[in-house]
Structure formats: C-alpha cells, structure tokens
C-alpha cells in the first residue's frame, strides 16, 4: 500500500509524539516528515537547501504558532504557489481565538482544528483529518 506523504509543521515535540501515536493507533498509512519552524517548512515545500530531494507532501498539518515564520506566513507562501495550493492542508492550534483569526483564509471549515487535551482526542482528530483528505483527493480527481 502506498504511503501518504504528510508534512507536519510543528515545534512542540509533545504534539508530534501524540500525533504519531494517534496515527499509529488509527492505523493510517502516513509517512510523516516533521519540520519545526516556518522557514524550514517553506524550504521543504520549495525543496530548497537540504530538502532538495524531499518528497512532495500530499497532506500538510500546519501549527499556527511557529518560530521564525508563523503559520499564517507559511500559509501565505503556500497560497501564492498554485501547485502547493492544491495540497490538502489542516490548521492546528491550541487556541480557539487563534483559529478564529485564521478563518480569513477561507479554507473549508474542516481545516480549522483545535488541538485536543487527550490522546483519545488526537486519535479522533487524525481520523477527522484523514476523512477530510480523502474528500479533498476525491474532489481533485473529479
């Protein structure tokens, strides 16, 4: 089975662990690449520098609060590139007010996801993400 290339842009190592655990628990076919700040994320997406040979992600998990370049700036870069723009993307944040502010990007409502407080919550979150990705891929194909 072909693995889905996932780029997780997240500086909180705890959340990375919880997300990976939840992916494992949910049994999703994801290969997760992690970058820990916005600038690196942009390099990765444009395959610059040390990411020259990296795979093109099929799903982006973007934390809004990041060092160097924050999530919104990364999102701006993605929106400017027609190819990157097509990649299904989910915004994650622990703050509901931050998510509210990011609604100006007019992404589908399922993209705005609050980081849950429990492991079980993360499992549910990742299942919701996969459902969204599946729907997006299907729309792309049609």
């Amino acid at each position: 089975m072909k693995l889905v290339e996932v780029l997780m842009i997240e500086d909180n190592r705890g959340d990375v662990v919880l997300v990976e655990a939840a992916i494992a628990k949910a049994g999703l076919p994801y290969r997760v690449s992690v970058v820990s700040d916005g600038a690196e994320a942009v390099d990765f997406l444009h395959r610059c520098g040390k990411y020259a040979g990296s795979a093109r992600p099929e799903l982006i998990l973007l934390d809004l609060k990041l060092p160097r370049k924050n999530g919104c700036e990364v999102l701006d870069e993605i929106m400017l590139d027609p190819q990157l723009k097509k990649i299904p993307l989910v915004l994650l944040s622990s703050s509901t007010s931050e998510l509210k502010r990011a609604r100006s990007y007019e992404l589908p409502p399922e993209c705005y996801l609050e980081k849950p407080g429990t492991y079980q919550g993360f499992v549910a979150l990742m299942q919701a993400v996969e459902a969204f990705r599946g729907k997006a891929v299907k729309e792309e194909q049609t």
């Binding site: 909180n12 705890g14 959340d15 662990v17 919880l18 655990a21 628990k25 622990s94 703050s95 980081k115 849950p116 407080g117 429990t118 492991y119 079980q120 919550g121 993360f122």
Partner: protein
Amino acid sequence: MRLDTRIGAGFAAGIVILVVVGASAYVSTQQLLDANRLVRRTHEVIEGLERVLSVLQEAETDQRGFVLTGQARYLEPYEAASGQIQHDIDTLADLSRDDAAQQDSLQQVHKLADAKLAELQETVQLRRKSGLEGALPVILTDRGRKIMDELRGLIARMQARERQLLDQRNEAASAAASRTIETLVLWMPLSLLVLAVAAVVLMRTVQFGGPAAPPIAPGRKWAGVAVQYLSAVVAVAVAAALRWRLLDSIGPLPLFITFYPAVLLVASIGGAGPAIMATVFSALAADYWFIPPYGSFRIDAPSDIVAVGIFVGTNLFLSILMERLRRARWAEAISFVQEQRLEELSQLNAELSQQSEELSQQSEELAQQNEELQSQSEEIQKAGTELRRLYAEQQTIFNSVPAMIWFKDTKNNFVRVNREVAISVGKPLDAIEGKSAYEVFPDEAEHYYRDDLEVIRSGQPKLGIVEEMGTASGEKRWVQTDKIPFRDERGEIAGVLVFSVDITERKRLEEPLSRLAAIVESSDDAILSTDLAGVIQTWNAAAKRLFGYRAEEVICRPVALLLPPEQIDEEERILERVRAGQRVEHLETVRVTKDGGRLDVSVTVSPVKDPQGRIIGASKILRDITERKRVEETLRQTAADLARSNKDLELFAYVASHDLREPLRMVTGFMSLLKDHCGGTLDAKADEYIGFAAEGAFRMQGLIDDLLAYARVGRGEIAQSTDVAAVLDGVLRTMAAPIEESAAVITHDPLPTITSNRLELTQVLQNLIGNALKFRGQRRPEIHVGARRQADGWLLTVRDNGIGIDPQSADRIFMIFQRLHTREQYPGTGIGLAICKKVIERHRGQIWVESRPGVGSTFCFTIPDQGTGQG
C-alpha cells in the same frame, strides 16, 4: 569832509610848503658858502706858488752872494729856504688835492725845487772847499739858470690854470648867490600866497561866528588867561635854550627850528593872544642871540630879515588859524550840546503828550465809571425789587418744603421754623418761634440739644441722625435729621439749622430690602453686581473673603479685574448674554484673587432690571469650587489608576490562563496516552494515581477556562438595547437539556427592554438559572424570572425553590472560586456568581441574594438606566 580833516589838510599843506621853502633856502645858502670857500682856496694856491718861486730866487741870490764873497752871513736865508719850500709844497698839495693835473705839476715843481736846492748845495760846498775858483766853473755851466727857468715856466702854467679855475668858481658863487636870493625873494612870497589861499579856503570852510570864548566863570577865566600867557613865556624860554644847545650840532641856519613847535604849542593851548606874544618873543630872542651880529637886535643880512619876516608872518597866520579852529571846535561842541538838549526836549515833549493822552483816557474812564454808577444805582433799585420777590419766594419754598426746618440759636431756642414744623408739633408758628425747646419739647429738648452742642462745638454738620419723634397726634414718627452749623457774617457760629424728614414710610418699605441685603451680605457665595459695562457696583462679605478685595477697592472698577488675562474676553461674552436678557448658569471657570491666586469658581449671572423692566446690569454669584475641583481631579486620577490596574489585571489573567493551557494540555495529553499505553500492564494503584493526576490536570484546565471567561467580562459595549425576554429565550434554548432532565418549571414576568451588554446579560441569566437547576432540592424545580421598574432602572430577580443559602454565606458566594459545597456534591469551579457580580457592577448595578435555606433563594440584581447618572 569832516572839519578836523579839513583843518588837518590845510595845516599840513602850509607846513609842507614852509618846509620845502626852508629846505631850498638852506641848500642855496650852503652852495653859496661852498663856492666862496673854493674861490678862497684858489687864491691861496696862486699865492703859495708865487712864494715857492720867490724863496728859490732868494736862495739863489744868497748862494751867489756867498760864492762871490765867501761870507757866511749869506748862507742864512739859503738854509731857511729848503724848509720853507717843503712846507709850502705840502700846503699846496693839500689845497689842490681834488685836482689831479695840479698834483702832477706840483710833483714836478717839487722835483725841480729839490734839484735847484741840490745845485745850490753843491756850489756852496765847492766854494767852501776849493774857493771861488772851484765853484765858478759849476756856476758857469749855467745849469742853475736852466732849472730856474724851467721852474718859472711851470709855476706860471699852474698859476694860469688856477686863475682859470678862479673864474669858474667865482661864476658858480655868484650863481649860487643869485639862486639863494631868488629862492628867498621869489619863492617865499609865492609860498606865502599859497598858504594864504589855503587859509582863506580853510577859513571859509570853518564855521565862524561861535562864541568868542568858552563859557567859563570870570575868576577862572582870568586865571586861565594868565596861565596861557605864562605858558607862552615858558615855551619861548625853553625853545631858546634848546636852540642854544642845538647850535653846536646843526649850526645856526635853521634859525627858528625850535621856535616853530613852541609857538604852535602855545597857539594850540592858549589861542591867538599868547601865540602872537610867543612869536614876538621868539623873533626877539632869535635876533638877539642867533642872528649876527650876536648880542644885538640889529640885523645886517637881508636874508636874515626875510627869515625873521617869514617866521613872524607864518606864526601870526598860524595863531589866527588856531584861534579860529578853537572857536570852531567850541561851536561844534556847543551845537552838539544843543542838539542833545533838543533831543531831551523832544523826548520830554513826547512824554508830556503821552501824559496828556493818559489824562484824557482817565477822564474817559471816569465818565464810563460814572455811567456804570448810574446803571448800578438802577440795578440796586432793581435788586431791591428782586430781593423782595426772592424773599417772598423763599418764604414760600421754606414753608412748602416737605421737611421740617428749624433754625435754633446756640441756647436751644427756636428762632424760626417752617410750617411743616407747626403742623407736626401741632402748635401755631408764634407758639414755637422765639420759644425755648424746653417749652415745646419738655421731654426731648435736652436730647436734641446734645446734638446741637456737638455741631456748635465742632463747627461740622451732623448728618443722618435717625430717631423717633413724638407728634401732635401722639403717634411716634421716624425722622432723619441733618444738623448744620449756621454762621453769621463774621463767621462765628450763631445757631444750628435743623432739617428733619419723616422717613417712617421709607423705613417701612426699606425693611424687606435691608433684610435681603443682610441675606446677600451673609451669603457664603460671593455675590456682586455690575452695570452693563462690567463695572462693579456692589460687593458682599463673601466676595471679600473669596477674592481678598475690600468693597471700596473694587467698586467702580471693571470686573475684568477678577479675570485671568488669557480669559479676559469671557466677561464680554457673559455681558452680551446678560444684555440679551439671558442667564448664565453654573459656568465653571477660573478667577484671580487680589494676591494673584487662581480660583476655580462656578459662576451664575442674571440680568438686573429696573422697575421699568430695562436691563441695567448683572448680578453674579460666584461659588468657590476649588475644593470640589480638587476632589474631582483626585477621583478622576484614582479612577484612571483603577482602570489601568484593572486592565493590567485582566491582561494578566488572560495571558496567564491562555499560556497555562498549553503545558496543561501536554499533561492531560500524555496522561491519557500513558493510560492507554500502559492500560492493564500496571497494577490497580498505578491506574488510580494516573486517574488522580489526569483529573487534577482536567480540573485545572476548567479553572483556567473559567478564569479566562471571567477575565473576558468587561470588554463589550454596555449601552446595547437588550430585550430581556429574548435573552431569556436564548438561555432556555441553550439549557434545554438540563431543564428537561430536571423537569423544571420556568416562568417569568413581562420582561422589559433594558440597556446593557446583551452577551453579558445572557451570561448572568445562564449562570443564575444554571445554579437554580443545579442546587435544587428534592422538589421539582420552579424558577421564576421577575422584573420590576425602579426609579432609575430595573430590578430583575431569579427566584427558585432550591436548597437555599445560609445568610451568613450570602456574600461569600459572589467571590471567585468560592464554593459552599464539595465538588462531589455539586460540580463546578465557583466562577459563575463572580462573573455575574462583575457584569452587574460593570453596569453600575447591584447583585445580592435573599434566601432561606431549604425554602429557596432569590437572586436580585439591578440594571440602572444607562446614560443618566453616568456623566
């Protein structure tokens, strides 16, 4: 030409002519003398030459005699001859010194004479040595005869030349003599003629006919004449002595050289008489001493006679001329004096005419005065009439004045009173006039007299005495009395004039006014009034306290005095409103006190109107609000501080709760992961521990969320129009599940629309209804939401029939995180009522609880009408 100048000119002309004539006479005479002397010298030369020849001939004769005889006696003349010839030749050389030709010839004569003498000598010697035979050959050579012949010829030539010179010189002498005579005879009369002409001209020019002699007293006149004649004698004597002295140095010829000045001097001092005398004396003296033959009055030389004649003639003429001049000068002096007199006279005349003019003017004035007197007399008559009229008028006025007038003497007697007095006293005039005050006012007389005496002693009026006075009707009236000292024509105080006005009515009318004035005066606010130009008219005690100015310092000064310079036009704006009939109320502004301090005042200004309703000024009430302003300022600052610290606190709460969530999420996240990961692999105790930790973390999560909610209160607008019924509907919809679960019955009164923050009111109702459901007892919950209108807002209540609250805890329940029960009994953090309290207080309302445990609780809160009471 002035007189003196003319005289001077004439005089000078005469003198010049005289000097010229004299000089030429002198020169001619001198030439004559020189010529004579030369003639005499020529004669001497001829004689001298003759003698030289004869001496030599004698010497030759003697030589021959000796040679022939040999006798020595022949030699004597011969020996004398050589000395004689030497002497003669020297004399001749001297005499012919100015004739070079004769000098040369003389030289030759000298040589020939010497040669002759040498030849003679030689023969004499030979004769002596060798006798006649020896000498004879020499003589026979005939040498001696040749020398003699030569000498004889030479001398003859010289003599011929001298004779020729003699002729010439004689001719020159006779020419000089004739010239001298010519000068004296021809030129002298001519010069005299010229002088005479000059004199005639002069005398014509000079004014004659002046007084003969200066006006001098007779005694003095004789003394003066004596002195003049004596001076003539002295002058002549001095002149003679001087001439004698000068004789050696200048010779006899300018004969009268010293006498002329003497005569002139005398003529100028003494006039004609003494001058003529001096002339005669001078002529005599000169004749006697200085004209040959000396020592006698005889005159031989005709030239001397002429000189004396000229002297006498000239001086006589000069004397007369001087006399004339003296007289002319007198005449001039006198005419000057006369002129001066004339001038004085004319001046005097002018003065006299002026005086006469003044006199006529005075007479005119007198006439005018007379006229005035006439008219004055008429006026006096008129004045008499006028006076009678005035008296009558005055009497009328005196009796019709609405005041009592009393004229009292210094002894408290009435001299005159007017009719008003008679009416007031109730007695006829003659029962008062001339009577003592003690008779008319037995009771008050002494009291009145005391004031009179004060006026009499001080000489100053006493005004405004207000007192009660009894009247005929027995009624007491208030009168205001002025007492004025009356002075007689000498200025002494003869009595007192008393004017009394009945002021009973006025006093009655004035009473409320004075009460008002007292109120104004005692007011705690500064009250002042101005006219329409802003000039201060009245000033009460509080104004003085507030501003520091005394009334007399500010009345009649502009009210702008109290304004700070930067607001000086404020007064004009106020006055404009006042002129328009408007009031200015509670204008909060700044005024300046006397010492320059600033005052915050509240000013109220109203127009002041006269009885006709015209606006004539402004009344101002100024209240010192400095303290209030200060308090307000303090409050404002406190409020600002509070608001700032509240804001800080809110920010702190928000940031803290927000940032605390993140790590807490890690705790809860990994707790749950741990439980899942190790589920069943650990023992039961471990599972329980993990459970506690997870639960604590979750509770903390809840507390933080609540805190965040609490902190968020106070951000929204509170002036929204809020329909309470709609809000309640929303709440009930939200809480549909627990309501249904508890089967609660919820009712409400008709609910108003209030002004509040809609969301916050929702929070309040949600919390209160939530609590009512949560703390229910065994019974079915019944909840009622009430509303009641109050004076300034709405009172809303939520009443339940739950477990109730112990009244002691009634305050605690509104504090944040305060709970009355365990979490096991009733879950929750205890934030709800704290949020309610915060919301209500933000709306300036109050929240409290009325409760009976076991019966139920009623939560009450008020929402005041927003907008009023806010500013």
